[in-house]
């Protein structure tokens, strides 16, 4: 998958990594607002800080004058972080006005983003919201009283729908409506939800159910995903003389202890039984015998003969 980033995106990224003047990489010490989004485990994370010019009497009139970011993520995540800071500094907004900046503004500033990378712009908008929420707490501004409804903590509350990225139903519902997401692909591109194991796509209460509930049922492509089954143990049949698998294994060990291991011990070696299936005995030579050129021959002929004679005629030994 090659890159089809806009020139603007490329330039912002290259300027940022080269630390050119005018870029916004960094963290403001004692910021007036700090917000984070994403995590290292999920593959991208952004820490966004801003400083305001404080209004002497009315904190809601504070103006954001400086914005900085630290980002762990791909090319477009870094470019989107640059875009966010640049937009805010250019516009000289109050924190509440800054909330009107959406991921669409970031995409526009970047002169477009590939669809699969839209989540990078959403990450910027989310970190901004969290930072404004943090600013309001620091400055004693009651956002609710001003009719501003941001609840960053809803990400953590409620039923988890996408377990890979830890995204909850209330968060997904709000974002599906806010960003007008109409398909599972839209959701994945914008929020990453459903982009990893995909098991939440069509299960009850999963992404398709949320979409159907919000937008009404639409014809969809049928798709199921298979989870890897856990390796199963094999049931073993009873051996010739009616020994259970447990008794059979004990007998093998007893015979090996008595007739085989003392012989090997003379040469400083030992033998490990790795597994037994029916009358197949999987063995490995240890100690001094392990590197021996004739090791497998020893196992095959000496050990097998002893087990045939003393445990079960059908015994076969396999060297592993």
């Amino acid at each position: 998958m090659t890159w089809n980033y806009s020139e603007k995106t490329t330039k912002l990224f290259m300027d940022a990594v080269q630390g050119r003047p005018g870029t916004h990489m960094g963290e403001i010490a004692n910021p007036d607002g700090i917000g984070e989004h994403g995590s290292l485990a999920c593959g991208d994370a952004l820490r966004f800080t801003f400083r305001v010019e404080r209004h002497p009497s009315d904190p809601t009139q504070d103006i954001i004058v400086e914005a900085r970011y630290l980002t762990f993520g791909c090319t477009s995540a870094i470019a989107a972080s640059e875009a966010l800071c640049a937009i805010i500094e250019e516009r000289r907004l109050t924190p509440i006005q800054a909330l009107s900046i959406t991921n669409k503004d970031i995409v526009e500033y970047l002169e477009g983003l590939p669809e699969q990378k839209i989540h990078c712009s959403v990450m910027g908008a989310e970190a901004l919201q969290a930072a404004v929420f943090n600013w309001a707490q620091r400055r004693g501004v009651d956002l609710r009283a001003l009719g501003v409804d941001i609840t960053p903590e809803e990400r953590e509350e409620g039923r988890v729908v996408c377990t890979c990225f830890g995204l909850t139903e209330p968060y997904l519902r709000r974002k599906i409506m806010e960003l007008n997401l109409r398909s599972i692909a839209d959701i994945t591109n914008a929020l990453k939800a459903g982009g990893a194991c995909m098991s939440c796509h069509h299960k009850p209460g999963g992404l398709q159910d949320l979409l159907d509930d919000i937008w009404g049922r639409q014809p969809t492509e049928f798709k199921t995903e298979v989870e890897l089954p856990v390796a199963r143990l094999i049931s073993r049949a009873r051996s010739e003389d009616g020994l259970s698998p447990y008794q059979f294994a004990k007998k093998v060990e007893r015979v090996l202890d008595e007739y085989v291991r003392p012989m090997l011990a003379q040469d400083g070696g030992d033998l490990e039984v790795v597994d037994i299936k029916d009358t197949l005995v999987y063995c490995r030579l240890k100690g001094a015998c392990a590197g021996c050129v004739g090791a497998n021959q020893t196992i095959k002929f000496m050990v097998e003969q002893v087990l045939k004679d003393r445990v079960d005629q059908r015994c076969r030994v396999i060297a592993v």
Partner: protein, 418 residues
């Protein structure tokens, strides 16, 4: 800008000798090898000679080689063909780190009601023989499909040993190996080390022939039904007119690989080792994935903590260096590579993986260019990272805490499956 191509596990440059060998069949020798007139003898003979050459290279019989369009087709033919031949067996053993051309076929078969054991690997990417033994079911297991070398890490599986254990357990178990990454890089001996292998897939474009041609070794007598149905070509086992120029190219490429193997192998290994040593020395918090396991000489897979792979690839690309990454942002999915996850690479590093894969055309100067460039690229991205302090060349406290958590998670994951 000159291209420094270090993505040879993805595809390779077509060797000029291969192009030469192909040209006559792209120009005037266009006849269908199945046709009866004299003019068609040239192409028919070319296909027969290519088949004999490849058989000679792999030490098998010419009629045991089927030509296909790619390794994906070879893998599908091997697996689907094997299950069609013996409906009474419904159990398959494979690994979690196979190429999608095997993994997705096996997942599809699970949906069809087959039982598939996907074996785990340890932290260095190696299979545990105990787990393999445990998974085999005498009388029930139909197929073992285990790759020869992993495309992402280069880790080699002891396929000869595994095949012998499977056959000694039950001669009715078919053994398939995807040798896409080893064909042309290692000598493959189907009479010697690989004598218990029934099916082996390979691809042309990983060994300096063009894309669009592959082969499947199908041991005489192995019960495998045709997959691509059609004409009588390939003894009725694979329909479709022979892709004459590409088949000729594949044979020529294998011949070249064999001729230059001894010297290439040593030179490539030395270059890879130098790259590995220098990157490890110059970049703090860098892990070599598959370190400690037997590996292909040409492959280096590293994971850089606290850096995302795409940003590194992008800057490498801006300097003409082609490599690849298993990071989520480059995989087409939003998940990092299934291979690195199976190896439990810590989450602080799994998004920062880079694969460099060398070829016989790789030069020492190219490797030096990467050694000079990459540390600086890593530093540029770490300066932007909320988890890293580039001044101290160490993680910030929050990064340090995540690293401890990641290492502990890895330890638990590996202990669980061990």
């Amino acid at each position: 800008m000159a291209i420094i191509y270090l993505d040879n596990n993805a595809t390779t440059a077509v060797a000029p000798e291969v192009v030469e060998a192909m040209l006559p069949y792209l120009r005037d020798q266009y006849f269908n090898p199945s046709s009866m007139y004299d003019a068609a003898r040239g192409p028919a003979r070319a296909v027969a000679e290519a088949r004999a050459g490849i058989a000679n290279h792999l030490r098998c019989r010419p009629e045991e080689i089927l030509f296909t369009s790619c390794a994906t087709e070879s893998n599908n033919t091997a697996i689907i063909g094997a299950i069609r031949a013996r409906p009474e067996r419904r159990h398959i053993v494979t690994t979690r780190v196979e190429h999608p051309a095997v993994l997705e076929v096996c997942k599809f078969l699970v949906r069809d009601g087959f039982e598939v054991d996907f074996l785990p690997v340890d932290g260095s990417g190696q299979l545990e023989v105990e787990a393999f033994v445990r998974a085999l079911r005498p009388g029930q297991t139909l197929l073992v499909s285990v790759m020869h070398a992993n495309n992402e890490t280069g880790v080699l599986f002891p396929i000869g040993e595994l095949a012998r254990i499977a056959k000694e357990t039950d001669p009715g178990i078919l053994v398939h190996t995807d040798a896409t990454q080893t064909a042309g890089k290692l000598p493959l001996d189907l009479k010697g080390e690989l004598r218990h292998v029934d099916l082996l897939s390979l691809s042309g474009h990983k060994l300096h022939s063009p894309k669009g041609v592959g082969a499947l070794f199908l041991r005489r007598g192995a019960p495998v039904r045709p997959f691509l149905l059609g004409g009588h070509q390939e003894g009725g086992r694979r329909g479709g007119t022979e892709n004459v120029p590409y088949i000729v190219g594949l044979a020529r490429a294998l011949e070249l690989a064999e001729a230059t193997h001894a010297e290439d192998h040593e030179r490539i290994a030395a270059l890879r080792d130098r790259l590995e040593d220098e990157l490890t020395r110059r970049i703090p918090y860098l892990e070599v994935n598959g370190a400690g396991a037997p590996r292909l000489d040409n492959t280096l897979n590293v994971a850089v903590h606290f850096v995302e792979g795409e940003g590194m690839l992008y800057q490498l690309s801006a300097r003409g260096i082609c490599a690849s990454s298993g990071s989520a942002c480059t995989s087409g999915s939003l998940e990092p590579s299934h291979v690195l996850r199976a190896m439990a690479v810590p989450f602080t590093a799994v998004h920062g993986s880079l694969r460099f894969s060398l070829s016989r055309y790789t030069t020492a100067a190219e490797i030096e260019a990467v050694i000079e460039t990459l540390p600086e690229i890593v530093a540029s991205l770490r300066r932007l990272s909320p988890y890293w302090d580039e001044g101290a060349r160490a993680p910030r406290p929050e990064g340090e805490a995540l690293l401890r958590q990641a290492v502990e998670e890895r330890r638990q994951r590996l202990a669980q499956q061990g």
